[in-house]
Amino acid sequence: MTRRAPGLPAWLLLPAAIGALLVVLPLVALVVRVPWTSLGPLLTSPTAVDALLLSLRTAAVSTLLCVVLGVPIALFLARTSFRGQALLRALVLVPLVLPPVVGGLALLYTFGRRGLLGETLDVLGVQVAFSTTAVVLAQTFVSLPFLVLSLEGALRTAGGRYEAVAATLGASPTTVLRRVTLPLVLPGLVSGAVLAFARSLGEFGATLTFAGSLQGVTRTLPLEIYLQREADPDAAVALALVLVVVAVVVVAGTRLRREEP
């Protein structure tokens, strides 16, 4: 053990160790179960490849949507102050703490055939239910708060001084955004986007409730894992390993970026 830090009582190590074990042990247990010898065939079966590609595709589109919709929200929240702003922020962040299955129900009652917008969409010839669009909607719904939260934090930390200077030098708001603000908060934007991507990749509850489950159309990696868990546990564990690796890489990546400056 290293030299004792003055603010770290020894007894604190016990709950810390238990907590760490609680997180690490299940991951170890999962990795121990991985059928290493048949990993290749399990990960390249047609259903696995379809699920993996669908997950990557939908998560990429969702992340893009999160950036397009989330950056304006974050800017608005960070650069204004008005009555009810706290409430607005809370509302935008609700999907963060909402059980995903509840999010799925809410989406169903909005975009479903008998939902709020269902009939309008039907008239326009758009059917969201059971389509890949539904998967993207569900993922964007749950991932948007991650991007808004981390970007708003970065914007507030960066402050408005450079923007004010640029404005006095004659730059229009759009130029300020493009030339000053975004370059300044780029690390925050990137880590927010990476988190949103990871959350989209792992989305399960809202997708299952709202989008259904069909190979190549709506059955993403987590849904495939859930299905295979009954039929072929080895395949489920092999696919789970893929998501664990992605999760570890994402978390490690965003952590490292934070320690850089």
Binding site: L13, L14, A17, I18, L21, L108, G112, R113, R114, A129, F130, L208, T209, A211, G212, S213, L214, Q215, T218, R219, L223, Y226, L227, Q228, R229, E230, A231, D232
Partner: protein, 243 residues
């Protein structure tokens, strides 16, 4: 350090597993989710007949139940929704041979008002139909039945469980789905049903067995109740067929 951790973990486990006063007896039944209604009714009757006996019911998908038994879950009775699941339980974990105590068959369910105007199984090829995935028992059965009838359905979704299929139909997202008769009955007026010709040829057999690690006496009480006339009547009311 390591020892302290072990003690804390052990205490946690003991605290989590103890409970129940002496003198009272408990029969723990692991049962397939589709048995929720009839088994709950039977448990109430048994507890009424014998106030000293507690019935603890734990419902899950049959595959999950088998996994729980293999992992050593403390229970006295196992009831699966199909033969294949029960067959996967190693013989030394069972106390005696499993018996078939009920059957179930498939039925088409449609949202109230039948927006897709589904009259026969052949209509399933025409409307937005939801089935169970092939990998789960209800999906294997549905595909076998449809193959038999020569109906080629391209489902809009292949769900993980019967309840998921039911949910998609009851909410009106899908025009039709294939579920068990018992599930359709439990859904009440949230769905309408259409009988499928030939569904009797594809029966799902519910299997029941006492578990080797459990209390053989209380397990026997439950097995006897389920196969009694009273038990049969409750199962029949839930839409399940005779074995």
């Amino acid at each position: 350090m390591r020892r302290a951790l072990a003690v804390v973990l052990a205490l946690g486990l003991v605290a989590g597993c103890s409970g129940g006063d002496a003198g009272r007896r408990t029969v723990t039944v692991l049962a397939a989710a589709s048995l929720t209604e009839p088994f709950t009714a039977l448990a109430e009757r048994l507890e009424e007949q014998d106030p000293g006996l507690d019935v603890r019911l734990s419902f899950a998908g049959s595959a999950d139940l088998v996994a729980q038994v293999e992992a050593g879950a403390p229970a006295d009775v196992l009831a699966t929704a199909d033969e294949a699941s029960m067959a996967r339980v190693p013989a030394d974990l069972l106390d005696g041979e499993p018996v078939t105590f009920a059957t179930n068959r498939l039925q088409v369910v449609v949202p109230p008002g039948n927006p897709g105007r589904v009259r026969t199984a052949a209509d399933l090829a025409r409307v937005d139909t939801v089935l169970c995935a092939r990998a789960v028992p209800c999906g294997a059965l549905a595909h076998a039945l449809l193959d038999d009838l020569g109906v080629r359905v391209r489902p809009v979704s292949e769900e993980q469980s019967v309840k998921d299929v039911l949910g998609k139909v009851a909410s009106g997202e899908a025009d039709a789905g294939l579920v068990y008769v018992s599930d359709a009955r439990a859904a009440g007026d949230r769905v309408e049903t259409v009988d499928v010709e030939g569904s009797e040829a594809h029966l799902n057999r519910y299997r029941l067995a006492a578990l080797a690690g459990g209390d053989a006496e209380v397990a026997r009480r439950w097995l006897d109740l389920v196969s009694s006339g009273e038990g049969r009547a409750v199962l029949r009311d839930a839409g399940l067929g005779a074995p």
